[in-house]
């Protein structure tokens, strides 16, 4: 009977990047973006916008230092609004970078190799922007080190039972681990830049940063172990960070916050907004620098699918949120939910439902996913939607608390907006510096995607 068995041939794996590349052309194309003396106008334009907004941020921070947090629209009972909203939004955006670099590495999704570098950079800069808000909200930001347990003459220590202290540890660990992971990934590429540049100064700087990497087989073997271990370490970390962020709310007993499904809901939302940011950055970059052969339509398609999947999880969470409030039989929970839908924040609520649940459904269609311009547009819609979601969760629960006599609608001031747009400037500023000074695509990992990188049959022994 064995003869009757059909042999099903495994289909040949699809090539991830466009045909025709060699090790040399891949290296040159990515390295030239950094090593060329000619900077495209797009770069100057983007950098100017980023730098302008960064100056606005510095102004807003200077005014804050002089006059205190009263310059923001914070009035009882809404004692944190934009600051925590923006913090959660930025941290969430960072999550896609770690997901791409760590989780997709463990799952052997090799297409990630051409988008992981700039996604990780996005993570770092997003976490830097996120960190600004809790620090500035401290009131006396220059005493931020009081958050850490260190021996001091005051004889006091942080309260380790508070989710706000957990946040300090979670976010600073996340920033450190992301930086280490990113730097380890950069080392071989820094060596490439060191060997390719003609400028003595650049060779010195890249040489110091590459630490003398020379691509030895002994080093590669340890290196592969290290990146696998770092990916394994970063995977639970990325899932835990937004969980801890959601504890800021769930541990409180405020109606609308005190809920057990917040952790998975926040993590899905984080990945959702993060992939939207990845698309919003990748689409213009690949067009300007002619990288369509490396960041292909397949990459955009895959990212859009991840966005759609996480978007549906977020949509499910909204439905569950409303259902739980109704099913709990708790009048306060029900009132908060009803207020969100029909109260002073109803426009925000229904816009977020449109942006996060209705609009992304166009991604079901292959025709939409294959048009970069439409994808770009839908990722911007998702970014706005996710910002509104954080805003509605945080502010609408606070503005209408248990005591109707203290209700007050939050009015953002111009300094709220300046600080928020200022961090977008900080992000763009850092990101544009990054694409000018460091390779935005991991060169050595893209080399491994080429068909020539496979060792031939006769050598397999």
């Amino acid at each position: 009977m064995a003869d009757d068995q059909e042999v099903i041939e495994q289909p040949a794996p699809k090539e991830i990047i466009a045909p025709g590349y060699t090790f040399g052309t891949v290296t040159d194309q990515i390295a030239t973006v950094v090593l060329t003396k000619r900077t495209p106008w797009f770069w100057f334009g983007g950098f100017a916008v980023g730098f302008g907004l960064l100056l606005l941020f510095l102004l807003a921070v200077a005014v804050l230092f002089v006059r205190g947090v009263g310059i923001w629209g914070l009035r009882t009972p809404v004692m944190w609004a934009f600051d925590i909203t923006n913090f959660v939004w930025w941290i969430g955006i960072g999550h896609a970078g770690t997901l791409i670099s760590a989780i997709l590495l463990l799952l052997n999704q090799r297409w990630r190799n051409s988008i992981n570098r700039f996604a990780e950079a996005m993570t770092l800069f997003a976490v830097a922007c996120a960190g600004m808000f809790p620090l500035l909200h401290l009131g006396r930001p220059w005493l931020f080190y009081w958050l850490f347990p260190y021996p001091n003459t005051m004889g006091v220590q942080p309260n380790f039972r508070s989710p706000l202290v957990w946040d300090v540890f979670a976010v600073s660990t996340y920033a450190t681990v992301s930086l280490l992971f990113w730097y380890v990934g950069l080392m071989p590429d820094l060596a490439t830049l060191r060997d390719r540049t003609h400028s003595r100064f650049a060779r010195f700087v890249y040489g110091i940063m590459a630490m003398g990497w020379r691509g030895s087989a002994r080093h590669w073997s340890v290196y592969e172990t290290a990146s696998l271990l770092l990916a394994g370490i970063a995977t639970p970390l990325v899932l835990s960070v937004h969980t801890v962020v959601s504890f800021d709310f769930t541990i409180a007993i405020l109606p609308g916050w005190h809920s057990t499904f917040f952790p998975p809901y926040f993590v899905a939302g984080a990945i959702y907004s993060g992939f939207a940011m990845v698309l919003a950055l990748a689409i213009p970059l690949r067009a300007v620098y002619g990288l369509e052969g490396l960041i292909t339509d397949q990459h955009l398609d895959n990212s859009a699918k991840v966005m759609l999947a996480t978007g549906l999880i977020v949509g499910y969470a909204y439905i569950l949120e409303a259902f739980t409030a109704w099913y709990s039989g708790n009048v306060y929970e029900q009132a908060v939910m009803w207020n969100r839908m029909t109260g002073p924040y109803r426009y925000h609520y229904w816009s977020l439902v449109f942006c996060n649940i209705v609009a992304p459904n166009v991604l079901w269609f292959k025709r939409v996913r294959s048009k970069p311009a439409l994808l770009f547009l839908s990722s911007i819609v998702v970014l706005i939607g996710m910002w509104l979601e954080r805003f509605v969760i945080i502010v609408s629960s606070l503005a209408q608390d248990n005591l109707p006599s203290s209700w007050r609608v939050f009015e953002p001031t111009r300094w709220d907006w300046s600080t928020y747009f200022g961090t977008i400037g900080l992000f763009l500023f850092l990101f544009f510096l990054f694409i000018r000074l460091l390779p935005m695509i991991s060169i050595f990992e893209v080399r491994t995607l080429l068909p020539q990188a496979k060792v031939g049959e006769e050598a397999q022994g």
């Binding site: 060699t22 090790f23 290296t27 347990p149 004889g155 220590q157 942080p158 380790f160 039972r161 957990w166 540890f169 979670a170 660990t173 450190t176 681990v177 280490l180 992971f181 730097y183 380890v184 071989p188 060596a191 490439t192 060191r194 060997d195 390719r196 110091i208 630490m211 003398g212 990497w213 020379r214 691509g215 030895s216 087989a217 080093h219 590669w220 073997s221 340890v222 290196y223 592969e224 172990t225 290290a226 271990l229 770092l230 370490i233 970063a234 639970p236 970390l237 835990s240 801890v244 504890f247 050595f444 080399r447 491994t448 020539q452 990188a453 496979k454 060792v455 006769e458 050598a459 022994g461």
Partner: protein, 177 residues
């Protein structure tokens, strides 16, 4: 008197040729071998017998140390150094310690992974004799190098060069110290 050299190096075009050459050199009895490639090649690690390293152990110890640090720090602060009685709740509130214990486990493990990587590779190392070969700059672009070091007991300047020539490289060069 001839100046001593670091070793001899052969340059190849593609990973298959390099892996074949590495295997041939191992069979010939050479042990002080190293290869330089623009990306990691698993078959090469097999050919050079490079599969075991101590990094996982280092990371394990780092993680355990981090976890202990996190837990004991919180225990010491909340129970011994700065106890606060809140409605008679237990001072040793271990469920609340889990998150910081977890975060410090991750942090210490990641830092020990990176420091362990650098230590096991002997980096940072700004100078290495391999960089004296002018074409070695291509090892980070598209060329594959095999180096037999002079410390190998079988090493003989002429014979080893001759052996590398038989592997059909693009070029064989001596690596000066």
């Amino acid at each position: 008197m001839i100046k001593p050299i670091y070793g001899v190096m052969a340059e190849f075009d593609n990973p298959t040729a390099l892996v074949n050459a590495a295997r041939a050199a191992r069979e010939k009895g050479y042990r002080k071998l190293d290869a330089y490639t623009p990306f990691p090649i698993e078959e090469l690690s097999d050919a050079l017998h490079l599969h075991k390293n101590k990094l996982p152990l280092i990371v394990l110890f780092g993680g355990i140390l981090g976890g202990l640090t996190g837990y004991l720090l919180q225990y010491y602060v909340t129970v011994v150094y700065f106890p606060i009685n809140i409605a008679g709740r237990p001072l040793h509130s271990w469920p609340a310690y889990i998150i910081i214990t977890f975060e410090l486990t991750i942090l210490f493990a990641a830092i020990s992974a990176v420091l362990g990587l650098l230590a096991l590779c002997g980096l940072p190392m700004p100078y290495h004799p391999a960089f004296n070969v002018p074409r070695f700059a291509l090892a980070s672009r598209n060329r594959f190098f095999l180096c037999i070091e002079a410390t190998d007991p079988l090493f003989d300047r002429e014979q080893t060069c001759g052996f590398l020539e038989t592997l059909e490289p693009r070029e064989v060069s001596e690596v000066a110290h």
